[in-house]
């Protein structure tokens, strides 16, 4: 029998970036808000101080800050005719666990997605005609344009101390920035990070080929900074321990120090950690949520009634909760009907390793998670992609995120797996190599989707989420084309050897690729093809909002945290100024 707690106004499920943003933004409403987090409480001083946080084995290899797959995981298959099997350990992507979620261990790469990424259907039809996209591809517009979202991108960047260089100020192209970005109202809050030698070599090569290199936007503060909420950032140490680690300097933006201390100042906000939400409860009509149940640290099932439920967990976990709770109609790939689980997306890689002589010195350990130089010449529709046989594109980056040696040991193809010749190659190339990589977009497809697994269960007795996903010809063409561009960039550097890294022909759940899982609870303008309206509100259960990358109808060629943060601010404002005043659908269905 569940323990039933007194009702509150709002319950938030998952305390990462989006849960943090909404908790902080709504904390001053005077409403009673409960935030539930499955993992532990965290603070910089207690959990991320040096030297212990600079432990590659513990954090980067054994995944100390990540979801524990013994308790919760998913199953995976390529296609509907296969049997999905459990992801028994983490690999391809790394959802976080604990206060701050994946916002603790990310790199800090904070893009604005291109205007095209927000409305690819409309813009593709305008540029190429209505029938340009292959029939199995499901390009969908968000129902929000880039221009509408611009102030919220801005807000997230200033909150996160982003270091970068504007390329388009109010429509005016600015030298040194990304000329392909959508117009922004003002500069980044901080100047770019200093950049590495690899970045300099990339810039020179990109210039020589007529491209438009620029420093990547980094939520790694290039100088000490106080954000608009009064939160103090330290200057980034360029220590090379960002991705998979917590930052000791509060230089990498994370909700654990930017959002929750502010939310917790308000006594109306209560944070309950080690509290794993099992289900959203619906009333007998199925059209209204009444609260959630969770398991507390003593193993008791607790019911938390609430007037408004906000799912702010990791993208995949949001979709899992919706499916298990019966929120919205599950997507069925046979009929193409239903919305929850629809348009699951990922990204596609590939690129080039560039091996230099021993006089060219990279010092790869002098890095920061988001310290990179890139070009957007082949991203989105910044080029005539259909001329090359595909829709979409990818951002190309030369990143200097660190040189931690369990994971960073570039060697040329043909190097033996072990022995003296292997060791000689590791030693020879460690300090004299750079990598140019593509982050390729992946569009929505009829047979790439999420549902509940019929066989496997989690530690709490729930069916696991089932992922059915593989790459399509459009994405493979795109990734191979962009890998070729990476090779050309490498060849323009005067290196000893350029080794092409082929994009995958099939998706694998095994090697790490990116934690950029998208879709499954997508936004849109039509309740038949989207689970959420443009304010992240469920069409079918209007007192449930769902934040995070699960909202993206397709994946783009750059990291998703920028649009995730912007959308959370956008939704928080709509909830605060409109929904709470008159709880009802914010868009008529």
């Amino acid at each position: 029998m569940a323990i039933k707690l007194p009702a509150v106004d709002i319950v938030l499920v998952g305390m990462g970036w989006t849960g943090g943003i909404i908790a902080k933004e709504l904390a001053d409403t005077g409403l009673k808000i409960v935030g539930l987090e499955r993992g532990a409480d965290r603070s910089t001083a207690e959990d991320f101080s040096t030297p212990g946080n600079h432990d590659e084995l513990r954090y980067a290899v054994r995944f100390d800050l990540m979801q524990n797959t013994a308790r919760e995981t998913l199953t995976f298959r390529h296609s509907v005719d296969q049997t999905a099997l459990p992801m028994r350990q983490l690999g391809s992507f790394l959802p976080g666990e604990g206060l701050g979620g994946a916002g603790v261990h990310w790199n800090g790469v904070t893009w604005r997605w291109l205007p095209w990424d927000h409305e690819p259907a409309k813009r593709t039809a305008t540029r190429y005609g209505r029938d340009a996209a292959p029939p199995e591809m499901r390009l969908q517009d968000w129902g929000i344009s880039y221009d509408e979202l611009e102030p919220y991108y801005d807000k997230f960047e200033y909150t996160c101390a982003v270091s970068g260089k504007a390329g388009n100020l109010g429509g005016k192209i600015v030298a040194g920035g990304n000329p392909f970005e959508g117009p922004r109202k003002r500069e980044y809050p901080n100047p770019p990070l200093p950049g590495s030698h690899a970045g300099r070599l990339f810039t020179k090569a990109a210039d020589s080929l007529g491209y438009h290199p620029f420093p990547s936007p980094a939520a790694n503060a290039s100088r000490a900074y106080v954000n608009p909420d009064g939160v103090q950032y330290g200057q980034c140490h360029i220590c090379g321990y960002c991705e998979r680690f917590g930052c000791e300097a509060d230089a990498k933006a994370s909700p654990h120090f930017t959002m929750f201390p502010l939310a917790r100042k308000n006594p109306n906000f209560v944070l309950r950690t080690n509290s794993r939400v099992l289900k959203v409860l619906l009333d007998s009509t199925g059209r209204r949520a009444t609260g959630v149940t969770y398991i507390d640290p003593r193993g008791r099932e607790v019911e938390q009634p609430a007037g408004l439920v906000i799912l702010s967990a990791f993208a995949l976990n949001n979709v899992h909760l919706m499916l298990w709770s019966g929120i919205g109609k599950p997507y069925d790939p046979r009929t193409g009907e239903g919305v929850v689980g629809r348009n699951y997306g990922y990204q596609i890689g590939g690129g080039a390793n560039v091996f230099f002589d021993e006089r060219t010195i990279m010092n790869p350990f002098m890095g920061a998670g988001a310290m990179a130089t890139g070009i957007d010449d082949f991203n989105g529709d910044n080029f005539d992609h259909l001329k090359f046989g595909f829709i979409g594109g990818g951002g190309i980056s030369c990143s200097s995120a660190g040189g931690r040696p369990i994971q960073y040991r570039p060697v040329p193809p043909g190097t033996p797996l072990w022995g003296t010749d292997w060791k000689r190659a590791v030693k020879r190339h460690y300090n004299h190599t750079l990598y140019i990589g593509n982050q390729g977009s992946v569009m929505g497809y009829r047979h790439n989707y999420l549902d509940l697994d019929p066989t496997y269960r989690d530690a709490f007795g729930r069916p696991l989420l089932r992922m059915t996903f593989d790459y399509h010809e459009n994405e493979k063409k795109q990734a191979n084309f962009i890998a070729d561009q990476c090779v050309k960039l490498g060849e323009a550097m005067g290196a000893e050897r350029v080794a092409r890294i082929a994009p995958p022909s099939r998706y694998s759940i095994v090697p790490y690729q990116s934690t950029h899982n998208t879709g499954g609870a997508i936004i849109g303008t039509d309740p038949k093809t989207s689970a959420l309206n443009r304010y992240l509100q469920c069409w079918d259960v209007p007192n449930v909002f769902v934040t995070g990358a699960s909202a993206f109808p397709q994946n783009a060629g750059r990291n998703p945290t920028g649009p995730v943060g912007a959308l959370a601010y956008w939704a928080a404002e709509a909830i605060k100024t409109r929904y709470l005043k008159a709880p009802s659908p914010l868009v008529p269905a």
């Binding site: 290899v61 298959r77 099997l85 350990q89 030698h197 300099r200 002098m366 797996l417 694998s508």
Partner: protein, 237 residues
């Protein structure tokens, strides 16, 4: 490659002679106690937590193939890779603490990842027994540690490439892959875990370790060698 008799073989014989001196703490389980020879403790005042004596000798023999002692840099055995692997197998990772181990198990595609019903420590223990059994049957009654370095290298290559050697119980490729990965982790990890002794591996590649703060140095050392004595977590704590 080391001499034909091989470190593994040396360790094996040393092992037999040292069995009587083994402290009791090196025998954590009844299973371990059934073996009547053990490896010498990995360093004065320490002992193996998981590996039996013959298993430790097997590990030395494999690690010595993966990362031999040579003029390029430290060997895996002298760096403490076997100590590292032993501790990892005895700890949370070895016991599969974060591994989803619910069935059903069965046929899978490689893109679906690890699908054995075994924690790493189980896989390593069974795999060692399998490889030894294969060696006895196919290599004149010798165990893996008694093979020459060249023979061990050739056998491990066939196994990791998924060649035509079928082990009795576990897939050779999965077992050998895990053994190699664990060896490399120990070789490159912070010395607090028992490998990378004296940060010799970090010195070899020029990695400064756990304490780097380069905001004030990155401009000065751009495209210039930055050579310092590496520091591990224990040096900084």
């Amino acid at each position: 490659m080391s001499d034909e008799s091989g470190v593994g073989r040396r360790a094996f014989f040393k092992t037999v002679g040292a069995a009587a001196a083994l402290p009791l703490v090196s025998l954590p389980s009844a299973e371990a106690q059934t073996h009547d020879h053990g490896a010498p403790p990995p360093a004065p005042g320490t002992a193996y937590l998981f590996l039996t004596g013959p298993e430790a000798a097997f590990m030395e023999a494999a690690v010595d193939v993966f990362i031999p002692k040579d003029d390029v840099g430290p060997g895996g055995v002298e760096s403490g890779c076997v100590v590292f692997i032993d501790r990892q197998l005895a700890g949370a990772w070895g016991k599969g603490a974060r591994l989803y181990l619910q069935g059903p198990f069965g046929d899978s595609k490689s893109e679906q990842g690890y699908q054995l019903p075994l924690a790493p420590a189980d896989l390593i223990r069974i795999g060692i027994a399998d490889v030894d059994a294969w060696c006895r049957a196919n290599r004149d009654g010798r165990t893996f540690t008694q093979l020459t370095a060249t023979e061990r290298d050739a056998l491990l290559k066939v196994l990791i490439e998924g060649g035509n050697i079928e082990l009795a119980q576990v897939p050779g490729r999965t077992f050998t892959g895990m053994l190699l990965n664990a060896t490399l982790e120990g070789y490159f990890a912070d010395p607090i875990y028992g490998g990378n002794r004296d940060k010799g591996v970090w010195k070899m590649i020029g990695f400064p370790g756990a304490g780097g703060m380069f905001a004030h140095l990155i401009d000065e050392y751009r495209n210039k060698p930055y050579t310092v004595e590496p520091q591990g977590i224990a040096d900084l704590g």
